[in-house]
């Protein structure tokens, strides 16, 4: 999400799968869309039928490649060379969309004189601290600024310090020859890709980009996404129909889980969780500036302490752009959570929010568990014993807990690790007390899903869950009620947050047709997320005060205030439930076009984000064919096929006063309203922990040295080097010469906790297999259909050998590099069992989002089985 958040403003897909049918070209990279998102892929097939060109760039030939016009095999982990060369081509051949780039991106901005590029420092940007292995000083990355703190620009984009020229120098060595040598992609194939992209952009045509975890699960994932987004900005493809970037999310409501959210470093609506740095120079692993939003200010403005609301607003808010509204959103959030206990006098209860003191992401928490720092663990629909990276370490970590609650449909691997598994386990030696509670499936509970395109869709309950199975909402609600009862009389300061917490979602009337009497009312939760008036003036001018249940709903986030008169659980969801009886997430009207009455897409039901960019700077559509949102001169407002993602009455010729603040500081030609300068960021002056421009680094495990820089891999990545269960193969390690990547099959879902219990699905894909090329098979005497062993420094697994030409050896710098493809759906529980692919993966984490690198690492193979 910071990849997109930093570049264009919001950490979500800029478009929807349905809009792909308007594309003229669809580039799918880092995604096996046909297999992992078959229903969304139907739109790609439709687009192709309408004449769009579909390109798939991937290490293995999948069902996605089979439908593409062009499939380009590439080396896993070399994406930024491939994309960087496209950026260079666009810049050097003037093949970018000039008007769009000059007006809507930060290409003309001047960067500080003391900024040093990776070309100057051989793979590092200025500001790197060798001791802590992080970029501790981001100040040199910033814009040159005038006396009003506004960035200096050169509209001609000729100044050597302007972003465009810095990019030209940065990407100068990302040549077609480099692509051929490093990615193993013949120059002609690469050129075919670029030409197709260029032909299908401009005023008349648009192209879309689809990616998924093939990009995110790399130690430089955020920068790969940035590179993709830069290409889309240069081609003028963002904010326009058939354009954009589709971040394909891997589970139902994975987008929702970051919107509301369940992440440790975010509050609702992408406001950061307050942090408290304990050390002036934190270790890379323990830096609390990790933010999924990517909007946190860097060192020169960062306040180390965020103990008061004002200090928090100084860090999380912004002077310019939409984020200037943070005070309204945070106060409304605190009012939603703490109700009457939140007052102006007590900072709206801000001090009750927990402050993060380190990296509490999933993998780091597992290590803390291993070190005995974590005592208890709730697993709700999560299966780390098979589904998380370095799964052997995960199982060891679970064994260090005092207690663990697993809520799932079946007895998954994580609930059984204490008596079963690939290793010898002695239940007498494991102290963890495991509580396995039955959960309701999606058809057995009401609620909502927020999918890939930020679309909130309400889901009705079809049947009661069987036996004691209950919804997750019921579980959390009941747990909260019990905790509140437990601390009801406490006078200890640390318990006051729990006491102040509003917690009232009981049904007013029993659910019709259900035998369950204590399931909470999910629509009440939705009301809180949407927001409501705590105080409101009626027509006669009397101010009324309301309780949660009878309070009028707020119609949109523009109604939220910082004076405690409104409450809102997640500002971006405002408008989803604008009045009683009008749950827009449950609306199902299809008009065959933008489908504005099908569900509700945050923010404000906008389907294509930054859609001001679908019109030229004067507000006219770029072309009749790609008409979407435009300025209506007569009505003096923005209008079109979607909800404008722009102040609806701000004229294109509006120019801000140099001293203006908030949204007043955003010009009528700046479509990226979440950014303080209103522009798409080709170059990110703040917000990222590994540099302002995408740079090629090899994966943490790679068969080759970095051909571009002395710096081998992402200098800011969290390596966990001192962990004995996270040994890495060295560069070009002869013991681990084969590149391996993992992926999904259509027939199963993630580590299989839902699908491997289904006999029909098991019959379709009954066994773990590894896909290897005939060349590698011959070299290692592995016979098709027989067993083979895969080995990394973390572990060994066995799989059936699928010898197929769909995998092909690549020639990298004159030498042959083999690649293996490995689905990761199996484990030791269920009706279809097999080795755990994640026993091979390591726990080197991306610096911005702490995501593991499961899509590019190295291994070795031999015929036979594990003894």
């Amino acid at each position: 999400m910071p990849g997109l958040g930093t570049t264009v403003g919001r950490g979500g897909a800029t478009t929807s799968p349905q809009d792909l049918v308007n594309s003229d070209c669809i580039l799918i990279m880092g995604s096996n869309m046909a297999e992992a998102h078959p229903v969304g892929f139907a739109n790609v097939v439709k687009a192709k039928e309408r004449g769009a060109k579909v390109i798939h760039v991937d290490p293995h030939f999948s069902r996605t490649s089979a439908l593409a016009n062009l499939y380009v095999p590439t080396r896993a982990g070399s994406d930024i060379v491939f994309l960087g060369a496209i950026i260079r081509y666009l810049l050097e051949n003037n093949a970018y969309f000039h008007e769009y780039v000059a007006n809507y991106t930060n290409a003309p901005m001047l960067i500080r004189e003391d900024f040093q590029d990776t070309e100057d420092l051989d793979g590092l940007f200025s500001g790197y601290d060798q001791e802590s292995k992080t970029y501790t000083d981001h100040s040199s990355w910033d814009y040159q600024r005038d006396e009003n703190d506004n960035p200096l620009t050169d509209p001609t984009m000729q100044n050597p310090r302007c972003v465009l020229q810095i990019m030209r120098r940065h990407f100068a060595r990302y040549t077609p020859e480099m692509v051929e040598a490093e990615c193993g992609v013949p120059q002609e194939s690469w050129l075919q890709v670029v030409q197709t992209l260029v032909e299908n952009s401009g005023r008349e045509r648009t192209g879309a980009l689809c990616y998924a975890v093939g990009w995110t699960q790399q130690s430089k994932g955020v920068q790969i996404i940035r590179a993709g987004a830069i290409i889309q900005l240069l081609l003028g493809n963002i904010g326009r129909p058939g354009g954009g970037i589709l971040a394909l999310r891997g589970h139902a409501s994975i987008q929702g889980s970051t919107d509301v959210p369940t992440l440790y470093d975010l509050l609702a609506g992408y406001m950061p969780q307050p942090a408290e740095m304990l050390d002036a120079k934190p270790e890379a692993q323990h830096s609390p500036t990790a933010t999924t939003w990517g909007e946190r200010k860097d060192q020169h403005v960062h306040k180390r302490t965020q103990q008061t609301l004002q200090e928090y607003i100084d860090v999380a808010g912004m002077k310019l752009g939409w984020w200037s509204n943070v005070p309204s959103y945070i106060v409304s959030l605190l009012k939603a959570w703490y109700g009457d206990a939140a007052t102006a006098e007590n900072d709206w209860g801000y001090h009750w929010l927990p402050k993060i003191i380190g990296d509490h992401s999933h993998i780091n928490t597992s290590y803390d568990m291993l070190d005995g720092k974590v005592k208890g663990y709730f697993l709700l629909g999560q299966n780390p014993a098979a589904g998380s990276t370095n799964a052997r370490m995960q199982r060891k970590a679970l064994a260090q807990l005092d207690w663990m609650v697993v809520r799932d449909l079946y007895e998954v691997e994580s609930a059984t690790f204490w008596y079963k598994g690939p290793e010898e386990v002695d239940p007498r030696q494991i102290k963890t007390e495991v509580f396995l509670l039955p959960a309701a499936a999606s058809t057995e509970k009401e609620g909502s899903f927020t999918n890939t395109q930020r679309l909130i869709q309400w889901r009705d309950k079809a049947v009661d869950p069987p036996g004691d199975a209950r919804s997750d909402l019921w579980f959390i609600y009941d747990l909260g009620k019990r905790l509140k009862a437990l601390y009801a009389d406490s006078t200890e300061p640390k318990d006051q947050a729990l006491r102040a917490l509003t917690w009232d979602y009981d049904r007013a009337e029993p659910e019709p047709g259900s035998r369950l009497l204590d399931e909470p009312d999910a629509e009440l939760v939705l009301k809180e997320l949407n927001g409501f008036y705590v105080r409101k003036q009626d027509e006669e001018g009397n101010t009324n005060t309301y309780g949660f249940r009878e309070a009028p709903h707020v119609p949109a986030f523009t109604a939220l205030k910082n004076d405690g008169s409104t409450a809102c659980g997640s500002w971006i969801y405002s408008g989803v439930y604008p009045e009683p009886g009008k749950n827009r997430a449950a609306s199902r009207h299809s008009d065959g076009g933008t489908n504005l009455d099908w569900g509700f897409a945050w923010p404000a039901n906008r389907r294509i984000l930054y859609n001001r960019a679908s019109a030229d700077p004067e507000g006219k559509p770029w072309s009749e064919r790609k008409k979407y949102i435009w300025w209506d001169e007569e009505q003096k407002k923005w209008t079109g096929k979607d909800i404008p993602d722009f102040p609806v009455d701000k004229a294109p010729d509006y120019r801000p006063d140099p001293k203006a603040t908030g949204m007043d500081g955003i010009s009528g030609t700046n479509p990226f309203i979440m950014k303080p300068d209103g522009r798409g960021w080709l170059y990110a002056p703040v917000g990222l922990k590994d540099g302002p421009l995408p740079t090629h680094y090899e994966a943490a495990e790679s068969p080759v040295h970095n051909a571009l820089y002395k710096q081998q891999s992402n200098p800011a990545a969290k390596f966990h080097k001192n962990r004995k269960d996270n040994r890495l193969a060295s560069i070009g390690d002869p013991d681990y010469p084969v590149v391996i990547t993992t992926y999904r099959l259509t027939e199963h879902h993630v580590s299989g906790p839902m699908t491997r219990w289904m006999p029909w699905l098991n019959a379709l894909q009954p066994s773990l297999f590894a896909e290897i090329s005939p060349e590698l098979a011959a070299e290692r005497q592995i016979v098709h259909g027989s067993w083979m062993v895969l080995k990394t420094p973390r572990g060994e697994i066995e799989a059936r050998a699928m010898v197929t030409r769909r995998l092909q050896p690549l020639r990298i710098r004159g030498r042959v590099v083999h690649q293996i493809g490995l689905p990761f759906h199996w484990g030791f529980q269920g009706k279809s069992t097999g080795s755990i692919a994640n026993d091979l993966t390591h726990s080197v984490l991306e610096p911005n989002v702490s995501i593991e690198e499961a899509k590019a690492f190295t291994c070795n193979v031999r015929p036979g089985r594990l003894s």
Binding site: N94, R169, P766, R805
Partner: protein, 331 residues
């Protein structure tokens, strides 16, 4: 109800005689439902993404048991064939060419050690730098490497060999002109199994022993719903509808693909040639039928009846004549 009445008739003959006319009505043949337009499938393999949703939708709607899991190693096809409890089957055919691994073999380090000289003040209007390739013609419709996917199903032949072979009349053409096995009449003889030139129908040897195959979701059709597989298909690779309409669509689709340069595309079973009458469930293929395990010219077993019967008669006559001749000679 019949049982009830039977018992009553035993208890009282007089009553039984009274009810006789009513009992006789039960033996009357019910008038068949009115003829409907012929319905069928057009399975367009050029749109198939191999997701197998059709297989699962079929199993779920018809409540068919799962096969014993068996990893076949035949690409992604672990279903292997149609059968008594598998009425949709997705085939996977890999056609991947092998080229010499890419790359010049030259080390990039040598070429990239010095920074290429760039003019930093290049004019921004030289648009001729983009090589001119006419849009839309640069890329072929499919990769040269192919992974063919094909959802196989009962062909619902206009003149179905299985129906001809069925000695009990269990296999019929329904009012939708689909081929249907009446399970209460099938005696499990298996003649239909050998008669089907496509290997579609099979006996459920692990279950009731009777012959089973795709019903084109007869029960759903009665309620005005699409067959489950067509409903589940995300890419409209499986199209359901009136056969006449589908055949028209198929011709148009073929023309479109050929326009796109997919010259190898062809229709299978869309004309009346196959099995003298054509198939009501037909296909668009991207290679020769044999590649998909479909016979190019499927044989109708009943075609052999006349020649082989004639042969038998002639042989019998000859043998009779010879024996007469032989015995008369002996005398």
């Amino acid at each position: 109800m019949l049982e009830q009445r039977g018992r009553e008739s035993v208890s009282s003959i007089a009553q039984g005689v009274k009810q006789l006319p009513q009992l006789l009505t039960l033996l009357h043949k019910e008038t068949p439902p009115p003829e409907e337009p012929a319905l069928g499938f057009f399975t367009d393999t050029s749109l198939c993404i191999g997701c197998k949703a059709c297989e699962i939708a079929c199993k779920q709607w018809n409540q068919l048991p799962a096969a014993t899991p068996d990893w076949s190693g035949t690409s992604y096809d672990n279903t292997q064939h149609l059968g008594a409890t598998t009425w949709r089957h997705v085939q996977f055919i890999e056609q991947i060419e092998r080229r010499i691994p890419a790359g010049t073999g030259q080390s990039a380090q040598q070429t990239s050690s010095t920074l290429p000289k760039l003019s930093l003040f290049q004019p921004m209007d030289s648009a001729e730098a983009i090589p001119a390739t006419p849009p839309g013609t640069a890329l072929p419709f499919f990769n040269s490497d192919r992974w063919l996917m094909h959802s196989d199903v009962c062909k619902h032949c206009a003149n179905a060999p299985c129906q001809e072979a069925c000695p009990t009349g269990a296999i019929i053409h329904t009012e939708y002109d689909t081929v249907y096995v009446q399970q209460d009449i099938c005696n499990g003889c298996g003649y239909c199994v050998v008669a089907c030139p496509f290997g579609v129908i099979a006996r459920d040897t692990g279950g009731d022993g009777q012959a089973h195959k795709c019903t084109l979701c007869y029960d759903r059709l009665k309620d005005g719903m699409k067959p489950a597989c067509a409903k589940a298909c995300p890419t409209e690779s499986i199209q359901f509808g009136e056969v006449q309409e589908l055949k028209k669509n198929a011709q148009e689709r073929l023309g479109l693909l050929q326009e796109h340069g997919v010259s190898e595309a062809s229709l299978y079973g869309a004309d009346d040639k196959i099995l003298e009458g054509g198939l009501h469930s037909f296909f668009l293929l991207l290679d020769e039928p044999e590649v998909y395990n479909l016979p190019a010219n499927p044989a109708r077993p009943s075609n052999h009846v006349l020649p082989t019967s004639l042969g038998t008669i002639i042989t019998a006559l000859l043998m009779g004549l010879m024996s007469i001749f032989f015995f008369s000679n002996k005398e």
